[in-house]
C-alpha cells in the first residue's frame, strides 16, 4: 500500500501537525518508503495468532480508590504557556 498527496494531508490533519503544501511530496516519499519497508509483514501467516496486548503476562493492578494527591495547583500550571487564576488559557472555542 502507498499513500497519495491527499492522504498525506489527511494524516497531517489527523495528527494535528500543520504541513506546508511544498512539504507534501517530500513527506509522501518518506512515508511510502516506510510503508514499503513494513510491507513484508504481509507474507507472515498470522492465522489464529493472538495479537500481543501485554509484553509480560501480568494481571492488571488496581489501586485503592482513595485521594492520594492534590493541593498542587501551582505545580500543575507552572509550566503552562498561558494561564490566568490557575486556568489554562486557549483561543476561544465557543462563539
Amino acid at each position: 500500500m502507498s499513500v497519495d498527496a491527499a492522504t498525506v494531508r489527511r494524516i497531517a490533519h489527523l495528527a494535528r501537525i500543520a504541513v506546508a503544501e511544498a512539504e507534501v511530496p517530500h513527506l509522501q516519499g518518506e512515508l511510502n518508503a516506510m510503508l514499503a519497508f513494513v510491507e513484508q509483514l504481509s507474507e507472515v501467516n498470522v492465522d489464529g495468532v493472538e495479537p500481543m496486548t501485554s509484553v509480560t503476562p501480568m494481571e492488571m493492578k488496581k489501586r485503592p480508590d482513595v485521594i492520594n494527591d492534590g493541593e498542587i495547583t501551582d505545580d500543575v500550571v507552572r509550566n503552562a504557556p498561558d494561564t490566568v487564576n490557575h486556568f489554562f488559557l486557549v483561543p476561544k472555542v465557543v462563539e
Binding site: 500543520a18 509483514l41 500481543m52 493492578k61 504557556p81 483561543p91
Partner: protein
C-alpha cells in the same frame, strides 16, 4: 587529580569508603572534564551547583558512616528522565523550558542511594533515532575516531549523550532508555556496557514516553560490574507504574565472576546477515569461543521471525508514539505557537515543535491506527510480535540460558552519513537489538573488539525474562576475554 575520572564505580566506591578522596573532589574532577569536553555536545544542561551541593551532603553522610550503595558517585542523566526543578526537554523544542515539579522514580532511587547528578545528557528527540542527530540541541560527537582521521562520528542513539559521556570519562555512569536498541547500540559504538532490562524491571514513571510497551530504562557504564551496581539501584517495583513488576531486586553484582559452566548459549542462525562485515562475523565467532572456553555449551538455534521484528517495530512504536505525543498541544506545558483557532494553535505548535523524524513517526503512527488501516497494519504487527516472542520462548524451553549475537551490524558511522535520503537506512542499525524489545527480554551490550579502522564493536547477550544476573555473569566473561577499550583523548 585527573585519574579520579578514569576509575570505575567499583574503584571509586572503595576510595570514598576508605577516605582516599571525597565525593566533592570526585565531582569537581568530573565537572572540569565536562567543561573541557563541550566539543562532544554530550551534556545539554550542566548542573555544577546542584552537583556540588549533593556531593557535600553525601560527604557529610559518608563521614557519619551512612552512605548508601552509590554514595558520592557522580552520574549523568539522559534528558528523557524528569528531574525535579531541573529542565527536562527530551531534546525536543516542543518541551521548551519544561521544569518538572517531580522526579522520575528511577532517578529518585539513584539519589536515595547517594549518587550525585552532574547534569542532563543529550539524546535523539523523544529517543527517536539511532545516531543522536535528531536532538534539537544538535548531534553528539563520539569520542572515538577512525585511526588517522578527524571525521566526527556519531555515538549511536538514542542514548548518544549517555554513551559518549561515559566513554569520554565525563561521568562514571549514566541513565539511558531503550525502545529498540537505544542503550545497546550506542554502548556498542562507544565501547561501553549497556543494559536493557526486562520489560517491567525498572519503573517508567517520570520518563518521557515514546512507545510505552517497549520503553525500558537501564544503565550505561564502563564495566559490566559498574552496570550491575547501577542496575540494582535503578530496578524495583513502583506502584505508580502499573507495568512495573513486584519482584525482589537481586544483588546483580553478586553475579559477576559466577561460573557460566554448563550454560547453554544459543547462536541464532537468522542473525547471520548477507553482507555482514567480516569483522562483525569474526567477533561473533570469537565471543562464542570465549564463552566455550569458560565452560558454556554453544548450540545453534533458530528464531524464524527475526527478519519481521524491525518492520513490526516500525508499526508498533510509531503507533504508540503518535498516541503518547498527542499530549503536546501547547496548552499545559512547553512551546505554544499561536493560531486563529484552537485547532490551528495545535497544528502550528506541533509543526514548529516536532523535528522531522518525530513528525514522520507521529504521522506513520497516525496512519496505521486510522480507520480502515488498523487491522492491516497495527493488528497484524501485534500478531507478528506474538510470533517473535514465541520464537524466544521456544528456545528458552529447550534449555537455552542466553543468546549471543552481534550488537550492531557495523561500527560507528560519520555524522550526516546515513538516513538522508531514506529513513529506513538508519532504522537498520537496530536490526539485532529490536527483537529484544519486541519480546520484552533483557539484553546487554559488551565491548568485544575493534574493526580494521580502530572503532569499537560490541556483542549482545539476550536473556530469559528477569534473568539479568545470567547476562552479568556472561558479560563479565566477555569483558575479561576482550579487555577494556578507551578512546584516545583529542577533545
Amino acid at each position: 587529580m585527573t585519574d579520579l575520572i578514569s576509575m570505575t564505580i567499583a574503584e571509586a566506591r572503595n576510595g570514598l569508603a576508605n577516605k582516599s578522596f571525597t565525593s566533592l573532589e570526585l565531582t569537581d574532577a568530573h565537572l572540569a572534564a565536562i567543561e573541557a569536553a563541550r566539543a562532544l555536545n554530550a551534556f545539554v544542561l550542566e548542573t555544577p551547583d546542584k552537583a556540588r551541593a549533593m556531593a557535600r551532603a553525601i560527604d557529610a553522610k559518608i563521614a557519619k558512616g551512612e552512605g548508601g550503595p552509590l554514595a558520592g558517585i557522580p552520574l549523568g542523566i539522559k534528558d528523557l528522565f524528569a528531574t525535579k526543578d531541573v529542565r527536562t526537554t527530551a531534546c525536543s523544542k516542543i518541551l521548551g523550558n519544561f521544569v518538572p515539579p517531580y522526579e522520575s522514580t528511577v532517578t529518585s532511587q539513584l539519589w536515595r542511594d547517594g549518587a550525585v547528578m552532574l547534569g542532563k545528557l543529550n539524546n535523539d528527540e523523544f529517543a527517536m533515532g539511532s545516531s543522536n542527530e535528531t536532538s534539537c540541541f544538535g548531534p553528539v560527537v563520539n569520542p572515538w575516531r577512525r585511526e588517522g582521521s578527524n571525521t566526527s562520528l556519531v555515538p549511536g542513539g538514542s542514548s548518544g549523550g549517555s554513551a559518549s559521556a561515559v566513554a569520554a570519562l565525563l561521568c562514571m555512569g549514566a541513565t539511558a532508555t531503550d525502545t529498540g536498541g537505544s542503550i545497546r547500540q550506542p554502548a556498542a559504538f562507544t565501547a561501553t556496557v549497556g543494559v536493557k532490562p526486562t520489560y517491567g524491571r525498572c519503573s517508567r514513571w517520570g520518563i518521557v514516553a515514546f512507545a510505552s510497551s517497549l520503553d525500558q530504562a537501564g544503565p550505561i557504564a564502563r564495566t559490566v560490574r559498574d552496570a550491575a551496581i547501577l542496575m540494582r539501584s535503578m530496578a524495583g517495583h513502583d506502584p505508580k507504574d502499573t507495568t512495573s513488576v513486584d519482584r525482589a531486586v537481586p544483588d546483580y553484582e553478586a553475579a559477576i565472576g559466577k561460573s557460566v559452566k554448563g550454560m547453554k548459549i544459543g547462536i541464532p542462525k537468522e542473525y547471520r546477515l548477507d553482507g555482514m562485515p567480516a569483522e562483525v562475523e569474526k567477533l561473533w565467532t570469537e565471543g562464542a569461543a570465549w564463552l566455550k572456553a569458560a565452560g558454556a555449551e554453544l548450540v545453534e538455534i533458530s528464531l524464524p521471525h527475526t527478519k519481521y521484528a524491525l518492520p513490526a517495530y516500525y508499526i508498533v512504536a510509531p503507533a504508540e508514539a503518535s498516541s503518547n505525543l498527542a499530549r503536546y498541544d501547547g496548552v499545559r506545558y512547553g512551546l505554544r505557537v499561536p493560531g486563529r483557532s484552537i485547532g490551528e494553535m495545535y497544528e502550528n505548535t506541533r509543526a514548529e515543535g516536532f523535528g522531522d523524524e518525530v513528525r514522520r513517526r507521529v504521522m506513520i503512527g497516525t496512519y496505521v491506527l486510522s480507520a480502515g488501516y488498523y487491522d492491516a497494519y497495527y493488528l497484524r504487527a501485534q500478531k507478528v510480535r506474538t510470533l517473535i516472542k514465541k520464537d524466544f520462548e521456544d528456545c528458552f524451553a529447550k534449555g537455552v540460558n542466553a543468546i549471543l549475537t552481534p550488537a550492531t551490524p557495523s561500527a560507528a558511522f560519520g555524522v550526516g552519513e546515513k538516513g538522508g535520503a531514506d529513513p529506513v537506512e538508519m532504522y537498520l542499525n537496530d536490526i539485532f537489538t529490536v527483537t529484544v524489545n519486541m519480546a520484552g527480554l533483557p539484553g546487554i551490550a559488551v565491548p568485544a573488539g575493534k574493526d580494521a579502522q580502530g572503532l569499537p564493536l560490541g556483542l549482545q547477550l539476550i536473556g530469559r525474562p528477569f534473568d539479568e544476573e545470567t547476562l552479568f555473569s556472561l558479560g563479565e566473561v566477555v569483558e575479561q576475554a576482550a579487555g577494556r577499550f578507551t578512546p584516545a583523548r583529542w577533545w
